[in-house]
Symmetry: C2
Subunit: 195 residues, 2 copies
């Protein structure tokens, strides 16, 4: 039974940190495509794949993003080579005939806006988590953030669509000198039960 | 810059599949602890870590779970060595003084039930995604599912708490003979934009 070796566990989980300062090393678009080609393979409910990603990496894109950011997130986000907007498409059911050909999954969502919103948020958040681990897999450091105004951001980037922002994640090559000491985690006994 | 090698990418993303049939090989509790010790390290907003997991692996636990399951999920779930209930604790802010000692993060949530629910759902879903990839890292196969009645499940498992179920994930060693052909994924052009 294959398992992940120790260096790979360190890369994805144990040694990886949330970064707040960035070296000037650029991130090629090719690396973002490599990241997406990994994250897209991880599972979602009925393969619904609601996440949509905007990789903001030009000065013009950053300027559009800036007014939506919480004050404490502006400097590090302007300095990051790339900021990924993790969003989801509330029209994701329209893709289900292609993505889930085994059943008429689109009909499960017809007229049920609450189910659409919940499914998009749950599975889009899961795909955001896959994005973080896929970014680490391709050698990038991550700085995920929830501190922004979603209404402002959605007006700036998604006005003509049903895409809605979920969270942001700076991507690049982090400067480890700026890291805080690592925060503790809950023990198995605190977070888990056996039944 | 270290990156994940091809066998590790296959294990976590490219060759891993959602399983619906299980070999009889048992899953030791020690493997579930190893899984949790990986997933807990991946990031959440302000390290809030709202996910709570119940690993159901006894006949008594499975019998408690059964009435909550959608009919199509009963047989495979009863047959799986372990079913993880991925839940989140709406009282997660009470842990923030321990988990995020840099600031008074608990006060951000005081009296704001909508922010508590949204933060728990987003970050708990992300931790559920980390659980799936961590399970694969320790050699387990996964069968995640959204088809169950949350009210029935929460009454059976979480009556005296503020834990709320999010999704389920069967865990064990899958039988590849039962797999469907792999479903397609959205292309980079369909799911991503560069800005």
């Amino acid at each position: 039974m294959p398992t992940l070796d120790a260096p790979a566990r360190d890369l994805l989980f144990d040694h990886a940190r949330t970064h707040i300062a960035w070296t000037p090393k650029p991130v090629p678009d090719e690396t973002l495509r490599e990241l997406y080609d990994l994250m897209k393979m991880a599972p979602t409910s009925a393969n619904c794949s609601p996440a949509r990603i905007v990789f903001v990496r030009t000065p013009e894109g950053k300027a559009r993003l800036r007014p939506a950011l919480a004050p404490g997130n502006v400097d590090k986000t302007m300095a990051a080579p790339v900021t990924a907007i993790i969003a989801h498409d509330l029209d994701f059911p329209e893709r289900l005939p292609q993505l889930f050909p085994h059943a008429d999954a689109r009909s499960w969502f017809a007229g049920n806006d609450e189910l659409i919103r919940t499914t998009a948020f749950r599975n889009g958040s899961m795909q955001g988590a896959y994005l973080i681990l896929a970014a680490r897999a391709v050698g990038l450091d991550c700085g995920p953030m929830s501190g922004f105004d979603a209404t402002t951001l959605d007006e700036a980037f998604f006005a003509a669509t049903r895409w809605r922002s979920n969270f942001l994640c700076n991507l690049g090559y982090g400067d480890p000198a700026a890291l805080f000491p690592r925060s503790p985690r809950l023990s198995f006994e605190d977070a888990c039960r056996l039944a």
